[in-house]
Subunit: 513 residues, 2 copies
């Protein structure tokens, strides 16, 4: 039947649905939220109810927001109050008018449901899902459902390729003059494993191009971006990054600022809240950023250990296979280095504490953590060899030389200057040591719970917060000696962390000699 006859003849004037926008100053992260009076003319004529998704329009832009209805006098009948995410996405100024209407059903949510019910998704579905995610059309409920669906039934190879491509497509892509652009990435979960700034400094000092874009922490107490931010500005736009890299051959910046795979940042927040990090999404997350960043050669570090993210050799090899296969599909030459993941790397866990370790290695200080230095040299060596910038088997020799003769340190300082100026990592205001309860040797350091301890102490948001380790596995300790120190910026956070330490006396275990 042709229903257009009736609809077109409608004589009822459509309600204007126009409200005055008000900035409420509510930080809801990515989710756009609009607050409207339950009894405002628009709610009444439109019949909106709580948790409705509605379409907001202003000055040619439109977004979908979740409606929270207000019953009190917080806002007037003519107002619509917006969360920061909604306000900024619409580009509003106070007093601007917005129009509101029901949100049309999102086609891509049908694809999400298809996947939940056991179907694989094709390219076009991932493209429309990722597009809708980046455009802010998914509520937190939808994001959680999509992420869970991709974790509960692992993504197939074709799906990972499609998701990776979609994540690249919706963001910016960096192009470099150099034909050969190297990158490195560490896959998850080893506290203090902060090799990136050192590797960049070494390989850039040897003439390679390494424009490193890093993430903030997902579920860890610090990401490379969090650490680097305590040493130099990292929030550079694409032009600024280009300038730094043209001048110095390398950089260590935050990837989010240049919209490389912007979907990743949204998905990661929700993965973090759900503590989910499935392999397919991990591969798409890692590689979409590298592809968008214009890398041609990539070294991947996978730490393996009982309390690391990847717990066994078999799991590591599977993940490596997945990463290499997807990288190859996108024309990215990649190599995986499996490394020791049995304990944290360096001394510090937390942004500023890890930054101090990085600086000590680059300066070749006597107290520099030897394990961090060792790992940085291994990875820099692998990068040099993968990029054919050293003869096979000579990468580490070259890297060690660049580090020891000060070339890497000089390069690092120039990179920091180019990024906006070097600064000193902050120091914590509140500290407390955890003491060895008896003499013996240090038998266990639980990576996950060390990370949790550092997070309870405030990391990564509190930059100076975290855990400073004073002993390594196998070290002989005497009763009463500090095994580590908890650093915090606020007394409440120090108290939480210590409460956790009390409840978990086996984070660090001293065994009998």
């Amino acid at each position: 039947m042709n229903a257009s006859h009736c609809a077109n003849n409608t004589r009822q004037p459509a309600p204007t649905n126009s409200l005055r926008a008000r900035r409420l100053g509510v930080d809801t992260q990515y989710e756009a939220i609009v607050f409207m009076r339950k009894d405002c003319p628009v709610c009444r004529s439109e019949g909106f109810t709580a948790h409705t998704r509605i379409l907001l329009r202003a000055g040619g832009r439109e977004i979908i927001a979740t409606l929270y209805q207000i019953t009190g006098d917080l806002i007037s009948h003519e107002e619509a109050a917006l969360s920061e995410a909604a306000w900024q996405r619409l580009g509003l100024r106070d007093g601007d008018r917005i129009t509101v209407k029901h949100s049309p059903p999102l086609d891509s949510l049908r694809a999400v449901r298809r996947r939940i019910y056991g179907n694989s998704l094709e390219r076009a579905s991932f493209q429309s899902i990722v597009r809708d995610v980046v455009d802010g059309r998914y509520s937190d409920l939808h994001l959680a459902s999509f992420i869970t669906a991709c974790s509960a039934r692992p993504l197939e190879r074709a799906e990972i390729l499609a998701l990776t491509q979609a994540m690249v497509n919706v963001g910016d892509r960096l192009k470099w003059d150099a034909n050969l652009v190297v990158d490195k990435h560490c896959v998850g979960g080893l506290p203090g494993n902060r090799t990136t700034p050192i590797v960049v400094a070494i390989v850039a000092s040897l003439g390679l191009t390494m424009p490193k874009t890093s993430s903030r922490a997902i579920t860890s107490p610090a990401g490379t971006a969090d650490v680097m931010e305590t040493i130099a500005p990292i929030d550079l736009d694409a032009d600024a990054i280009r300038r730094v890299v043209e001048q110095e051959g390398g950089c260590v910046v935050w990837g989010g600022a240049v919209r490389l795979s912007p979907a990743d940042d949204i998905l990661i927040r929700v993965e973090r809240a759900l503590d989910l990090d499935a392999e397919g999404q991990l591969i798409a997350s890692v590689l979409s950023k590298k592809i968008a960043a214009g890398a041609t050669h990539l070294v991947l570090d996978i730490p393996v250990g009982a309390t690391a993210k990847v717990r066994g050799r078999e799991a590591a090899e599977n993940l490596a296979k997945g990463l290499l296969s997807v990288a190859e599909h996108f024309g990215l030459k990649a190599q995986v280095v499996l490394s020791d993941g049995s304990q944290p790397v360096g001394k510090g866990v937390g942004p500023a504490l890890e930054a101090r370790d990085v600086l000590a290695v680059l300066r070749c200080n006597a107290e520099a953590p030897p394990d961090l230095r060792r790992r940085a040299i291994t990875l820099a060596g692998a990068v040099l060899e993968l990029a054919a910038a050293s003869p096979p088997g000579q990468g580490e020799v070259l890297a060690t030389k660049a580090l020891d003769d000060g070339r890497a340190w000089a390069k690092f300082q120039r990179i920091c200057d180019a990024q906006g100026g070097m600064r000193t990592p902050p120091s914590s205001k509140h500290r407390r040591p955890l003491l060895a309860p008896r003499s013996g040797w240090l038998g266990v350091i639980d990576n996950r719970r060390i990370a949790r301890l550092a997070k309870l102490a405030g990391a990564p948001d509190a930059k100076a917060a975290g855990v400073e380790l004073h002993a390594k596995l196998g070290d002989v300790v005497v009763a009463g000696q500090p095994l580590c120190t908890v650093h915090a910026e606020a007394p409440g956070e120090l108290a939480y962390a210590l409460e956790y330490a009390v409840a978990n006396p086996d984070i660090l275990v001293v065994e009998d000699q």
Copy 2:
């Protein structure tokens, strides 16, 4: 090691973390939300960041809420503003003080992650998940993730049993004096299939005990509770229900008011927003309510049709098997009736429109929809036979008699009076017919899109809204004749529904003769 040494020696006084509670009047449905100034002393000393889950305490009660940080002047530094759900759960009065701290990690979320990653969950896990859900400890993200996890890898039989039991355990249970308590339930998705009030009236008039607790709509334009609410009060507490049932032998009330399987109401809201309704959750949802309501004999109606919820005979038989097997485990005698699901039942789709059909059948009006009458008699007959209240094969005869001689109608009126007084279903203010574009016979009525049309028109929240059908499958129609009428309470909703009808000209298809 024993870290208690350090923690116990802490000399730092813990921050008081006390704020003045303010009722913000924000309806966020089940999710508890707290708004605090980003720069308030508590946020600063505790290091809370956006989307943190925090523990609120007041007067011996505690809840977990999602923190939204406020950057403007909406609230003062000494205040914490709460959503309605948070406010009510803490039982606050304006000016009360609350204390806030970081929420400890929820153990049950580990179980949710285990299920996402492919493990089955045992009894204790479902118990703790459902307990945390009912106590409001899950954010919307967590709820969406749990529901998706149970949809993406279907719940196993043991899991369905455990979930059902857990859902019964966390709520109230009704006990009846009668040894034999009958119930019926229709499984999903056939617009207008509102047999329940008629079946209750018939079997109660014949002396059976049928204390019917119904749900509101999940994804449909009306649930039985929504329909019944337009005829009589349905929001009765356990004592009131008992009084009605003792007096009349039957009732038709909303289940949510008596906390029968209260987890179901929370999960259903999220399932609705995600448009998910997987079999295992469906079985647990249906049967937990029946078990908690004290039913001993249960007839289940499963409509089967191309655009019904259950699309084919095989799917229906699988679902029937699942329902019967779980019912049996809990000592519930159940029977399934597979019914025709090819088109809507009766004329009306939407709360008040369906109520009119129900009343017409009970009053034996000439214009009563014969299909609704037929189905109600079939189901009442099945209930009578299952409960051995009629000889085998004689249930329908008995049911027809009670309907035709006015006993059922008299009983229904007495039930409505006992529930608080009968009322007249409201009429819509805005209507528009959809006309047959040409002559022929009605070949297709798309259940799902009829339901969507009724929802866009405002059902179930707008009680008078919905779709009124003027023709059945196979009816001969002439060009320009109204096939159905869209009813709405607001012009905006009428416009949306008509817009949808224009975009979907094949909701009702007229075929050549």
